[in-house]
Symmetry: none
Subunit: 195 residues, 4 copies
DNA sequence: AATGAATGAGCGTTCATTCAT
DNA sequence: GATGAATGAACGCTCATTCAT
């Protein structure tokens, strides 16, 4: 059961089509049939062949999209040292990703919000939230210790920043300037008084 | 043609069951069959009898939930005069509603985010967003004119506040103190320098 | 259970709406719901109240339409004596009815052709055909005895004339002149050689 | 994408069963369930697997039936040269087909007459009529130019012949001799005076 | 003379998945 | 590495009809 090059390419093709369908139609209207149309495959059988089940495919979509974006994000943030500087950069890059990778971002949200177990419990949302928010919370807490940031609940602040960024797409507002504006906003909200 | 008492009661029964199912299972897993189970009706036929189609039911769910919550919200905000005071109260009440009306709030989000036309375009989300955000944006703009609020983009700020509130549920954080913390956060982010 | 004026009026209202729906949508797409829309009634319940079942309504549609048209037809034919003259007039009037009563004619055809018992056997078609064709066949036979018509199978001729008239609507050809042309055609086909 | 042997056989099996059901029960009472019974398939799902939707199946029924019969018809008519001779042969063969292929003929009529778009407009009838009648009209017109046929409106005559043939089945009359009788009839109706 | 409320059965269609090559 | 063929279950929706006033 070795993974050949073709196998990997096929999986990527299917995942990419799934990302597009999810971004365009939303999770609820996404089906194997729609993905097959988008990827111009012969039948849904091919998806079942390469992925154990729908859950497996959705996980792959999530891993692929999150992986791609986190890699870009990390590349853009490396080398930054100051906490406030990092926060600003993080927000601006996240908003910038909306312009360069809107489909992946939509797909991540759709899958995380809507993919559930049979009993209705969300499968990926908690992990994803922990992943994103947990990291930021630690940064904020460290910044408070360093005296860069004011007193506030780091968990609430981290979650608020995360939600604010997710909310950018929903707003339909023009993206130019949005990142800077948002960075300014959270700078005011976090900055220690006598910086 | 005219709405009888029995008819209204049945509709309410179905809508309430729908709200619960949507809140518990999410929009994608909600079906007439699940609603029938929850409401202990005889068959899905009864839903089709009282609502033209799925779209009609979802609209009713939205109108019912938004109406209930907005009524409560307005009751709690009336009599407040200062812009900053109003903003604080708005945020705290919205968070408080999460404790008292979690199902309605979840249902609103689920339906607004996921109910779409056949081509995938959202049907209710834009209206709902305009409604909520537009009102707040006008308040912020007025506050800036009055010198209560600092310089910032009111559209971005309104959208950020709205997103932040919607993100509370997702966080899974304890609600006590969350409202106050969030109010403090946006107070710092909006307040004019000469406080 | 006396038949009041209102009762009769209501039945007529429903029958007329049914005729229109059948003519417009065809028998297969006709339902109580569509008739209710057309007649602007409150619910299908009203149809079930005035007619025992679908079969009863369809019978009423047929009786009403056939009755109306036969009355007109007979009025136009009375006083004619010559067999050939009568045949010509019959054909021309039948074609003329297409212009003045297209809906009734379509409804008759639709119901006669498509309304069936549960086992698929037609319910009205044979009677209607017998009624129309039988009468004409007797006229033709009499004309042959009188030496006005040539030798031909009267049953086949009667059925052919009937079919030809029914086929006018299907042709989509302009009606002016069609009746005369058809009358000429069957005059040539029936006329004795040395008239 | 490509049509396999099994696929073609299955489609044929379903189409043939559909033809029988339509011929026996009529279009309005035909459903996937009835076809499944006739073809002894496992479930209606199998029909949906092989045909995009009901419309697709009906089109296939029409194409299959019309194709089969036209092939037979053309084979029987080839080699004939005289216009009058051709007309006679055409009519007689069409009537003969009623004996050998009654189900296909009924199915064609049922589908053409009753299959409609959502708004009630017929989907196949106009094309089918044009196809059949148009061809005959051209033959008649040519015959007139050649002096074989008398003066008459070729469009009306073509439509009348077509209707007369369609009306044979409806008559319930014995078929032996019917074809010849009908051919004689239209021979008299079309033949030029100087025969 | 009419209505409100409800219903069982059936419709065509779509879902992700599986068997057998 | 891929496919053809098929499937059980569920979907939202419409049908004519009935019960109880």
């Amino acid at each position: 059961m070795q993974v050949t090059i073709t196998e990997a390419a096929r999986r990527k093709q299917i995942i990419d089509a799934a990302v597009e369908v999810i971004a365009d139609l939303g999770y609820a209207k996404t089906s194997f049939a729609r993905i097959v149309e988008r990827a111009e495959l012969s039948s849904t059988r091919l998806i079942s062949y390469h992925f154990a089940d729908k859950n497996d495919l959705m996980m792959a979509v999530l891993i692929s999209s999150v992986g791609t974006l986190d890699e870009l994000l990390n590349a853009r943030l490396e080398g930054l040292t100051g906490r406030a500087e990092m926060l600003r950069a993080y927000i601006e890059v996240r908003v910038e990703l909306l312009r360069t990778h809107p489909k992946q971002l939509r797909a991540i949200t759709e899958v995380a919000d809507n993919h559930r177990a049979a009993d209705g419990s969300p499968m990926f949302a908690p992990l994803l939230t922990d992943f994103r928010v947990g990291r930021m919370e630690r940064q904020l807490r460290q910044g408070q210790r360093e005296g860069v940031f004011a007193e506030f609940d780091p968990a609430v602040m981290a979650n608020t920043i995360s939600s604010a960024i997710e909310g950018v797409a929903r707003s339909g507002l023009p993206l130019d300037g949005y990142g800077r504006e948002l960075a300014d906003l959270f700078d005011r909200a976090t900055r220690a008084a006598a910086q």
